[in-house]
Symmetry: C2
Subunit: 205 residues, 2 copies
DNA sequence: GTCTATAAGAGGATAGAC
DNA sequence: GTCTATCCTCTTATAGAC
């Protein structure tokens, strides 16, 4: 793939900076409390300039979501090549990554009720594509883990998939961190343990 | 306790209607997307009248949270008297109730990031009291369930408590309901099973 | 594409009559 | 305590010069 002209690269770098800021603000305060003024001030450009890059506040959020999905997809690529890992290992690694992102304040989360935002996301080809291909891939690993009896085959795979996604925006890690009693990796370890043990086949099976 | 005059009772009834509306709207769209105009229109009174009852939008939300906590506390009272139930049974019943409320669209949830709202809640004596007494009671049952070996004694009790509270606002039941494949009680059963199995002691213990 | 300045409108809150 | 009418701030988005 061509890299484009120098000018285009500059543009790309600036947009990356914008998205990084949006990403952080979405993780910190959420979509509704994040203001476009704030984003512009944080990036260091005028608000009008920001609107030359992204058509709306919703588009900003969508771009941040696409970026995090791209990073997630890259992780899936890596994990798929690791022949030494079981399907359950891969699922554990994905959940672990998501919770680490969240604990570092770099996991953007969006309100699922906002219909304007929802429309913008579903209108984004890239977003929908990434979400579907990632879900397909995770779905395969879930089926494999069930075949391995690492996950209860009686559970509908979508239940497993949804709980995996839910771990990425679970408030519990944040609460535990707020107590100041646990390091990030301890929190992740406890969350993984309770999540995965809840999916195991019954002892008698 | 005296019931107060007839006029005071009327007032109480109206405020109950307001809180019921707020409760539903908070469950449907969340705090940020709920507007005071909407609440007033839904109740059928003018917005200015609404402000005679509650000083601010935050106060409205706090009242709704107090109501749900009161209902939860009433449930805890009932469960405490049931000598036939184990500690784990009681915890299961509480989680079950919370998820049923959520699936019926009657569980108000607030954004944990909004500091104005947080300040209002922590400034409400009744809210803080209810939260603390309920947490204490649940904490006792958690310790008892750990003594019974129904919950892994190695897990910090607060982890169990937080995951219990988190079940009340977990997005997974809503997603499962949206697929149209499961009845509410099936969803609750699957969620309970995965939650509680995740807390069990390891098989070897 | 960047800026300053401003439009446009939503939404929380209040004034003042009854 | 209820109403109508209004205020005022905040926020999204754009106009228009450079």
């Amino acid at each position: 793939m061509a890299r484009g002209s120098f000018r285009q690269q500059l543009l790309r770098v600036r947009e990356d900076a914008i998205i990084a800021t949006v990403n952080r603000l979405l993780a910190e305060k959420g979509f509704d409390l994040m203001t476009v003024d704030e984003v512009a001030a944080d990036v260091g450009i005028a608000k009008a300039s920001l609107y030359k890059h992204f058509a709306s506040k919703e588009a900003l959020a969508a771009a941040a979501m696409v970026r995090v999905l791209e990073r997630g997809a890259a992780l899936l690529d890596e994990l798929a090549e690791r022949a030494d890992l079981s399907a359950l290992d891969r699922l554990r690694a994905v959940a672990s990554w998501a919770m680490e992102q969240q604990l570092k304040g770099e996991m953007p989360t969006l309100p699922s009720q906002n219909s304007t935002l929802r429309a913008e996301l579903l209108g984004s080809q890239r977003y929908v594509d990434l979400l579907m291909t990632s879900s397909d891939r995770l779905g395969e690993w879930i089926l494999q883990a069930q075949a391995d009896k690492a996950i209860d085959p009686a559970l509908p795979p979508e239940v497993v998939l949804y709980t995996l996604f839910a771990r990425a925006c679970d408030p519990v890690p944040g609460f535990l961190k707020a107590t100041g009693q646990y390091a990030d990796d301890q929190i992740v370890a406890m969350m993984l343990r309770t999540w995965l043990d809840g999916l195991r086949p019954p002892a008698g099976a």
